[in-house]
């Protein structure tokens, strides 16, 4: 089976000046990231803001070109100017369901828009496909939604419109960048279930970007944790959540609030909060890591398999793999 997406040691470096606060050094927003996804699979990418998640998304949809390495979508290599077929193959759902849809267009027109841009089908065909996509996004009956305007919909319904617009082109890869973080918690699960169903039914893969690890388990097959441009832990999603190997992943898991007043909230180590810039040759997490040893200042650890299919880029991951998180 052809992979839906493959990234091979892809990097994106920004020259100094482009980022206001990091004048001087080259910013490695994405640094030698590799992964592959067959159709029907979901990869979660988690990390703090600034970890490179959105640059990764931009690389996948062709808004940025990699400085090194390459990306293939359904077997076709992404180039500086991807052709229309390749662009159709990757679609994106954004965080803000209010900002990402044009308030002047009806829902029907919004969902037809990509077909118009790609000059696909005649008016009747476009309408049929748009209605089909609305139905798939559970905006049923589509005829009832087609003529509405975005302001007549709730946040969750708007995000469903954005999803319908993304799938109307039948992409091979869906990139969802924090698609539920601006929605009420009460409607998030429905959107996540919808995305999972579309992946399962549509022979599509999904890269799901989030800073919230608590929603990953029921949605993603694989989980990658990103820190300063690098995947520092990758593995089956539930394994990573239940048995995090990298100290950064452990901190992310520990920081998630638990809706149970009987549980005492975790204290985070002062070193983690203080931060600091890593040395050029050492582990990028060392300045915030309570487990750091001298070798961490001089060796930049590569991802290596610590448990079956579960990799971490930490010199001490093997030692701590046995310990509970």
């Amino acid at each position: 089976m052809t992979l839906a997406v493959e990234m091979r040691a892809a990097s994106k470096h920004f020259l100094p000046g482009r980022h206001l606060f990091r004048r001087g050094a080259v910013v490695r927003a994405v640094d030698r990231v590799s992964f592959a996804l067959p159709p029907g699979r979901v990869l979660g990418v988690a990390g703090e803001s600034g970890s490179g998640k959105s640059t990764l998304a931009n690389l996948l949809v062709g808004l940025e070109t990699p400085s090194h390495g390459d990306i293939t979508i359904a077997g076709h290599r992404m180039t500086r100017r991807p052709d229309a077929a390749l662009r159709r193959g990757v679609q994106m759902v954004f965080q803000d369901p209010f900002g990402s849809i044009d308030p002047r267009f009806t829902i029907g027109r919004t969902v037809e828009e990509p077909l118009l841009i790609h000059r696909l089908g005649d008016a009747a065909e476009r309408r049929r496909r748009a209605e089909e996509a609305l139905e798939q996004a559970e905006l049923r009956p589509a005829a009832a939604f087609r003529d509405l305007y975005p302001h007549e919909l709730s946040g969750g319904q708007r995000q469903r419109v954005a999803i319908a617009r993304a799938i109307v082109l039948r992409p091979k890869l869906l990139v969802a960048d924090e698609p539920v973080s601006m929605l009420d918690v009460s409607v998030r699960a429905g959107i996540l279930r919808l995305l999972r169903r579309l992946v399962d039914e549509g022979a599509m893969a999904m890269v799901f970007i989030t800073h919230d690890l608590s929603i990953v388990g029921s949605l993603c097959d694989e989980l990658a944790v990103m820190y300063r441009g690098r995947f520092v832990e990758v593995g089956p999603a539930l394994d990573v959540l239940r048995r995090p190997l990298h100290p950064y992943t452990r901190a992310l898991v520990a920081a998630v609030p638990v809706p149970d007043p009987a549980v005492t909230p975790a204290e985070l180590p002062a070193k983690l909060l203080a931060g600091g810039a890593p040395t050029a040759s050492g582990c990028r997490f060392a300045p915030r890591c309570s487990l750091a040893i001298a070798a961490c200042e001089t060796t930049d650890p590569e991802l290596s398999e610590i448990l079956p299919a579960h990799r971490a880029a930490c010199l001490r991951a093997g030692e701590t793999a046995g310990a509970r998180p």
Binding site: F21, E48, S49, E138, L139, R140, S154, G155, G156, Q157, R160, S181, D184, V185, S186, V187, R188, A189, G190, I191, L192, R193, H211, D212, L213, S214, I215, V216, G217, S218, A237, L238, L241, R242, A251, L252, V253, A254, A255, V256, P257, V258, P259, D260, P261, A262, V263, P265, A266, E267, L268, L272, L273
Partner: protein, 354 residues
């Protein structure tokens, strides 16, 4: 099922031993609009004792921010208010501007929703500390002294006082705002979604900071969040708002441990739990109403999987179901049965997609 009482609203959190710092009685708030208007708050009674903490939860549009603004009389002019709000025994509604100034910021500080954008972009933090101080007749030297101490307390380097808001990360800005809110050592902090939009590690740091500040200053906290996980960590008591009404209130342990209103049960189930990552959360189909007038029915009925004919005919009053724990549902007495039914697949899917 079928039992319902017509007992009048009760006061939860009533502690006969202490005078409430904040006491809200039968509060209703209406926004006048070009159209029919919006009934944002409808007959809410709550109280918060000195040093206590109350979390207000509910989906967006349920009236949380309106209630928070009302406590300090910060509502926009198109808002009409009925009922009473007392701060330390004084009627906030009847105060003159001059009296209000004695309370606002000095005794009760407010951290607005999206506070990170509330800082003035063109002024350094020091200038903003001084401006706040000057507005309440505090000298610049005193303001500087306190600003430095408060910055240190919120784990920010006082040198950052010379910086402009955009030079700080979101988490640092949030802590700077909290420091500024503490300038006059208030007794009450009203914080509207102060952790929303922050990364989890920064959020954890902010929550832990608020918790420690409360403990060391006997600071009362009215904390608004849609995140019941954060509320569970910070607040001793909780009030669940829906369509401008209190659906359930009580000690956090009781409300989250034995949720007794279907809305609370749904919210609790919609919140994922990282300790059980495989379990899918539920989604409550539909969205809160935007009411032009107070409703003579249960506002949650259109989304409620347990609704019966009585729910659309009679407004369920907020009644006690246990000591200090009350819910506004005709069937709150059968809460245990509703809780066990709540996991049934498809129960919350309703008719409409949200």
């Amino acid at each position: 099922m079928g039992r319902f009482t017509l007992q009048s609203r009760i006061d939860c959190g009533d502690r006969t031993t202490s005078v409430a710092l904040l006491e809200i009685r039968e509060l209703s708030i209406r926004y006048r609009t070009a159209g029919a208007g919006v009934q944002a708050i409808d007959g809410v009674s709550l109280e918060l004792e000195a040093g206590g903490s109350l979390g207000l939860v509910g989906e967006s549009g349920c009236g949380k921010s309106t209630l928070a603004l009302a406590t300090l009389r910060l509502l926009p002019p198109q808002a009409e208010l009925a009922g009473t709000i007392r701060f330390a025994g004084q009627d906030v509604g009847g105060m003159k501007e001059r009296q209000l100034r004695q309370i606002r910021w000095r005794r009760a500080a407010y951290v607005p929703q999206s506070a990170q954008n509330a800082l003035v972009p063109v002024h350094s933090l020091r200038a903003q500390f001084r401006a706040t101080a000057a507005a309440h007749r505090m000298r610049a030297t005193e303001a500087d002294r306190r600003a430095a101490a408060l910055m240190r307390r919120v784990e920010l380097d006082p040198a950052l006082l010379e910086r402009f808001p955009h030079e700080l990360s979101g988490g640092m800005r949030q802590r700077a705002i909290i420091a500024m809110a503490l300038l006059f050592e208030p007794e009450l902090l009203v914080a509207d979604e102060p952790t929303t939009g922050l990364d989890v590690i920064v959020q954890r740091q902010t929550v832990n900071l608020l918790r420690d500040l409360r403990a060391e200053r006997n600071l009362a906290l009215l904390f608004i969040s849609h995140d019941i996980g954060v509320v569970a960590e910070l607040c001793e008591r909780i009030a669940v708002l829906y369509a401008g009404r209190v659906m359930e209130t009580g000690a956090t342990a009781d409300v989250l441990g034995s949720p007794s209103h279907p809305y609370t049960i749904g919210l609790r189930r919609s919140f994922p739990d990282i300790r059980d990552p495989e379990r899918p959360a539920v989604s409550i189909a539909g969205h809160p109403p935007r009411l032009a007038e107070a409703l003579a029915a249960c506002p949650f009925a259109p989304r409620c999987p347990f609704a019966q004919p009585v729910c659309v005919a009679v407004q369920p009053p907020l009644v006690a179901i246990a000591e200090g724990h009350a819910a506004a549902c005709h069937f709150a007495g059968d809460a245990a049965a509703m809780r066990s039914a709540a996991n049934r697949p498809g129960l919350w899917d309703g008719a409409r997609a949200a």
